[in-house]
């Protein structure tokens, strides 16, 4: 079937002002086009610079479905390449992370590359003399991803040579990453834990949408968070302190009014966050010694400013979500139209008390693990949607909550926290980044 390929009009028509066609979630051709257009045109999270502490350190990742890797070069710079040998395509690195020493060496025929990707040596090199090898792409070594920006240690890459610049793409949304980093008294995060990985049999966009879906927690999570609150009430006896676990689960059961007034902020290009005024992370118990450290580092006023900003979920379009207040990043990695690998990372606030790290790790396993009861609630909904959308009875998904009939696109705004506007914002961006290079490519082919 070739209904959508090269047909920007047909793709744009899948996204109405306040509805989207179910093909965006279930059509394999749309998924292929997302891999070909949407992901290369967007800025995608690759990893964190703390994972590349020493020269020779490397990590592997995917941009869409394309394997890439990042490495720390001998001169300290960070480089991102496609993870494939220029000879016959063998993946250079097969592990999530490691240290390669002074150079990468392909395991198949031992071509070797410097840690900036350039070709170092080929065994029996004279076999290439006079063959025109010098003019091939292979002679350049590992193919570089040229558009790479490292923002406060967060490594982002855009595969397409042309497109929206990093600054224009993210704009003010970077304030969530800023806040997360600023929460370290040293202004520094470190990845020390392997991510929790969780396979979802649903389209990746369902997960992204769910991040700002504030009308589901008190319903879908009544079974988990609701039960946690109930069991604690019954069992607490004369306990004077609420356990950290109950502090984390409890706020999920906040009523609609809480989410309404906490607000949603949207930004251009599909980014946005819940929890503007306050959030489910606002009322965790203070951790002894932390505030003092922050005041010492930043001064009274700035420390309170940083800790007073307690955003809930920030979606960085297309496929990550950041929680500054608990130092978690969730990466929704598309595998197939109905399969998504979710990797949830915890960052350690360098210099902060261990208790904060304990809490972040606890939150991650409570909410983001295949063994998480909150995760079970959510995945059940995504799986049912993935099945239900095959029905032809109604081919549209409704995103009309608090739609006022004339929404401006690509703006910054703060709105009622139960609005589905951030989902609409994402789909506007989706159509934009899906189609922005389509006509150009057709022209080039003609």
């Amino acid at each position: 079937m070739n209904k959508y390929g090269g047909n920007a009009g047909a793709i744009a028509a899948l996204v109405r002002e306040a509805e989207v066609h179910r093909d965006v979630y279930v059509d394999p051709e749309i998924f292929e086009l997302e891999m070909e257009h949407l992901f290369p045109n967007s800025w995608i999270y690759v990893g964190h610079a703390s994972q590349l502490a020493k020269p020779g350190d490397f990590i592997t990742a995917n941009i869409g479905r394309q394997p890439v890797m990042a490495s720390r070069h001998t001169d300290g710079s960070i480089h991102v390449f496609y993870n494939r040998c220029p000879h016959k395509g063998v993946k250079i690195a097969s592990e999530p992370c490691g240290n390669t020493g002074k150079f990468f060496r392909c395991p198949y025929h031992a071509w070797s590359f410097k840690t900036d990707g350039s070709l170092l040596a080929i065994p029996l090199k004279k076999g290439y003399e006079g063959t025109g090898f010098g003019d091939t792409q292979a002679n350049e070594g590992l193919s570089k991803v040229r558009n790479v920006v490292i923002y406060r240690d967060f490594i982002f890459a855009r595969l397409s040579d042309s497109g929206v610049s990093f600054e224009d793409y993210f704009g003010e949304s970077l304030s969530t990453i800023d806040n997360m980093v600023d929460r370290s008294p040293e202004g520094k995060l470190a990845v020390q834990a392997t991510p929790i990985r969780y396979m979802h049999t649903c389209n990746w966009k369902m997960l992204v949408e769910n991040q700002t879906d504030t009308c589901h927690p008190m319903v879908a999570h009544e079974s988990s968070a609701g039960t946690a609150v109930k069991v604690w009430k019954r069992e607490q006896g004369d306990a004077t302190e609420t356990p950290m676990a109950v502090q984390l689960y409890g706020p999920f059961m906040s009523p609609y009014e809480f989410y309404e007034q906490s607000g949603i902020r949207i930004w251009p290009n599909g980014h946005g966050h819940t929890g503007v005024a306050n959030s489910i992370h606002s009322n965790y118990q203070d951790i002894p010694g932390y505030l003092d450290q922050m005041v010492a580092a930043y001064g009274e006023q700035r420390a309170h400013e940083i800790l007073g900003e307690v955003r809930h979920n920030t979606v960085y379009f297309p496929n990550i979500m950041v929680k500054g207040a608990v130092q978690i990043l969730r990466n929704f990695i598309p595998v197939a139209v109905d399969k998504t690998l979710v990797e949830s990372w915890v960052y350690r606030l360098v210099g902060a008390p261990d208790k904060l790290y304990e809490r972040a790790l606890m939150y991650n396993r409570f909410i983001n693990a295949p063994t998480s009861i909150v995760g079970h609630d959510d995945l059940e909904m995504y799986e049912r949607a993935q099945e239900g959308l095959k029905s032809n009875g109604n081919q549209w998904v409704n995103l009309r909550r608090l739609y006022d009939g004339h929404e401006e696109q690509d703006v910054t705004a703060v709105i009622n926290g139960t609005s589905e506007r951030q989902m609409r914002n994402q789909f506007h961006a989706w159509a934009k980044f899906m189609t922005m290079d389509m006509d150009k490519r057709i022209e080039a082919a003609e």
Binding site: R197, S224, V231, E358, M381
Partner: protein, 158 residues
């Protein structure tokens, strides 16, 4: 007197309770300070400052058990079932004088729900204490052989 056979019988009995979904009786096997731990790293030492899949006390295990029966627990419609296939436990310690009872059991665990069936392999380590005449679980540690792989929902107990 607690013998090696008492420990082995305890472990078989525990698996039986899980397979027959006698959740409350299973919870009763735990010491009030007991923990259920599923590490996320090879030979992991620290459940608190290293990432785990699960590290839960009795309160949280009660929440899980109560949730399984909840009217609005949609991920349990239909209900999951499980099956434990255990190798004979290897007794690591059986020292009544010191009150130390430990065993390690290799297992294959199956969890099903509707038409889906998932199979997991690993080792269960039991750290037991004596309370009155009975043994209770101080720590049940479940190490999956492929702890680092991405799983779908694991809703019951290994």
């Amino acid at each position: 007197m607690i013998s090696e056979k008492t420990i082995t019988d305890f472990i078989y009995e525990e698996a039986e309770l899980l397979d027959t979904m006698q959740w409350q009786a299973w919870l009763d096997l735990f010491h009030p300070e007991g923990r259920y731990w599923m590490p996320l790293e090879w030979q992991q030492q620290d459940p608190v400052l290293q990432p785990s899949l699960m590290y839960e006390d009795l309160l949280l295990l009660k929440v899980r058990v109560e949730r399984l029966a909840g009217e609005r627990t949609f991920s349990q419609k239909p209900k999951s079932r499980c099956h434990h296939l255990l190798q004979s436990p290897r007794i690591v310690a059986c020292d009544p004088a010191a009150g130390v009872f430990k065993a390690r059991t290799s297992y294959i665990y199956t969890e099903t729900r509707g038409d889906n069936l998932e199979r997991y392999s690993g080792w269960a380590s039991h750290d037991l204490v004596r309370v009155g005449d009975a043994l209770k679980i101080k720590l049940k540690r479940v190490d999956l052989v492929n702890f680092d792989a991405p799983f779908g929902n694991i809703q019951l107990f290994m």
